[in-house]
């Protein structure tokens, strides 16, 4: 596995505009219309995508994984980072634009 740049816990991602996905059981099916291809995500990947699509930042995704999959927080955060990087590399997600500052 190639070394990738560290991803900040506050980093947020969103599905790319050509991506459509649905949970099917514990897994997820992702249609990438520009590719074109269909991906099947395992349960952890499906949950990561679901949380990111819901607007959760990477740190919150890691915390949710730790709770739902009963793993150590540090391990869950690392998994979240790795999965996010993999989803980005696969063309499923992209960095979300930063929220506008409060007036």
């Amino acid at each position: 596995m190639t070394e990738s740049a560290p991803i900040e816990p506050a980093a947020a991602y969103r599905p790319r505009s050509d991506v459509r996905f649905r949970r099917i059981g514990e897994e997820a099916v992702v249609v990438r219309q520009d590719a074109p291809e269909v991906l099947v995500l395992n349960p952890v990947g499906a949950r990561v995508l679901e949380l990111l699509a819901g607007g959760e930042a990477l740190g919150a995704v890691g915390a949710a994984l730790a709770e739902e999959f009963e793993v150590a927080p540090a391990e869950a955060e690392a998994d979240a980072r790795d999965f996010a990087a993999e989803l980005e590399s696969a063309g499923v997600i992209e960095p979300a634009p930063e929220a506008e500052a409060e007036p």
Binding site: R20, E27, V31, Q33, P36
Partner: protein
């Protein structure tokens, strides 16, 4: 973390709007804005396809004859007009519900709230054929061109343009579909190709509205074409669908399809229905009642014959990859995934690794056709 399934190439990916129709129409900017024009003639026919019927109006006599020759018992001539006469008694609705006096299960059943039909699903699809001047269409074929057509999907309308035709589909208030097809009246052969292409697309969208899906797949009946169970072999172009269908026919099994099949929701599960669109085999000539779908096999050519368990998500992904036009439609791809998730919920699913010699058939334990 993920597996990839490639979409079927050339299965109707949406065309970038700037390029839409440029290869086929002399003036793509003058694409019809509304479904209106001069009919080619006064003839009409019903096509008894799943989630239909599909009423085609504005045909000239030669076009009607060509449709009848192409679609056989699926095509029922009717008097032209907005409502037409009652269905011809000796050409009944092919659905088992019609045979039993119930509503068509292709459109959902009142006995099954989960399969309730969407608004407009009980109305026929209306397709009008209009005359277009020959100078409307390009007559030169780009080098390396492979037969295809352009598709521009929007939320409530679709535009199509292909060799010698253009078409506009609109989903009207209430959910009913209306379509216009513009062709050159004297272009008999081109008309049939245009009409067939349009019908494939309309069927895909209509089935989606009815909770179903149109899939590139071979459908085989075990236990007989009437009353048996269906096995669906799903695969992209070149995956072996026609090979499987040909071998099934050689074994005496009924074959509903070697190219495109319709999945439709029925109370308690999913059914598979034949369409008169074929790949290498002769297309179906007469409607047969849909079969209960018992098994979905994901085709994968390999050096051995084996059935490998597959998850429902994997099956949905493979099916979505083989759902032409809809999987490329940004407004409807999630509906497709929802439909497939429901349709395949109670169906046995496996990956079929197979050699082309047919050694896999004993693994399927399909009894001979009745």
């Amino acid at each position: 973390m993920h597996d990839r399934v490639l979409l079927t190439p050339g299965s109707g990916a949406a065309t970038p709007p700037a390029l839409f129709a440029a290869s086929f129409l002399v003036r793509p900017g003058r694409f019809p804005e509304e479904i209106a024009g001069r009919p080619c003639g006064g003839e009409a026919a019903d096509l008894l396809l799943p989630a239909g019927p599909y009423r085609i109006e504005g045909l000239d006599p030669a076009q009607l004859r060509r449709l009848g020759g192409r679609f056989g018992g699926f095509c029922v001539p009717v008097a032209a007009g907005p409502t037409g006469p009652p269905r011809t008694p000796d050409r009944p609705d092919p659905t088992p519900a019609a045979a039993s006096g119930r509503r068509s299960p292709l459109l959902g059943s009142p006995a099954s709230p989960a399969a309730a039909s969407p608004p407009g699903a009980d109305r026929p699809v209306e397709l009008s054929v209009f005359a277009a001047p020959p100078r409307s269409f390009r007559r030169t074929v780009p080098a390396g061109w492979r037969y295809s057509f352009d598709l521009d999907p929007r939320p409530e309308r679709l535009r199509l343009a292909g060799w010698g035709f253009c078409a506009l589909l609109e989903r009207r208030a209430g959910g009913a579909w209306r379509a216009g097809l513009w062709v050159t009246p004297g272009d008999r052969r081109g008309f049939l190709g245009a009409c067939t292409n349009l019908l494939r697309v309309v069927a895909a969208y209509r089935l989606l509205d009815a909770g179903g899906a149109l899939l590139h797949s071979a459908a085989v009946a075990h236990g007989g074409l009437r009353g048996g169970d269906g096995t669906l072999f799903v695969g992209r172009s070149g995956a072996g669908k026609s090979t499987v269908a040909r071998q099934a026919r050689g074994l005496g099994l009924g074959v509903l399809s070697d190219e495109l099949a319709a999945l439709i929701p029925v109370p308690g599960g999913c059914a598979v229905a034949a369409l008169p669109f074929a790949g290498d085999l002769e297309p179906a000539r007469e409607p047969v009642p849909p079969l209960r779908l018992a098994r979905v096999l994901l085709l994968e050519q390999a050096g051995r014959d084996a059935l490998v368990p597959a998850s429902r998500a994997r099956a949905v992904a493979a099916a979505a990859a083989c759902a032409p036009w809809i999987n490329a439609d940004p407004h409807r791809a999630t509906v497709l995934l929802d439909n497939l998730g429901r349709l395949l919920a109670g169906v046995e699913v496996a990956r079929l690794e197979f050699t082309r010699g047919g050694g896999f058939w004993p693994l399927l334990a399909l009894p001979e056709a009745a």
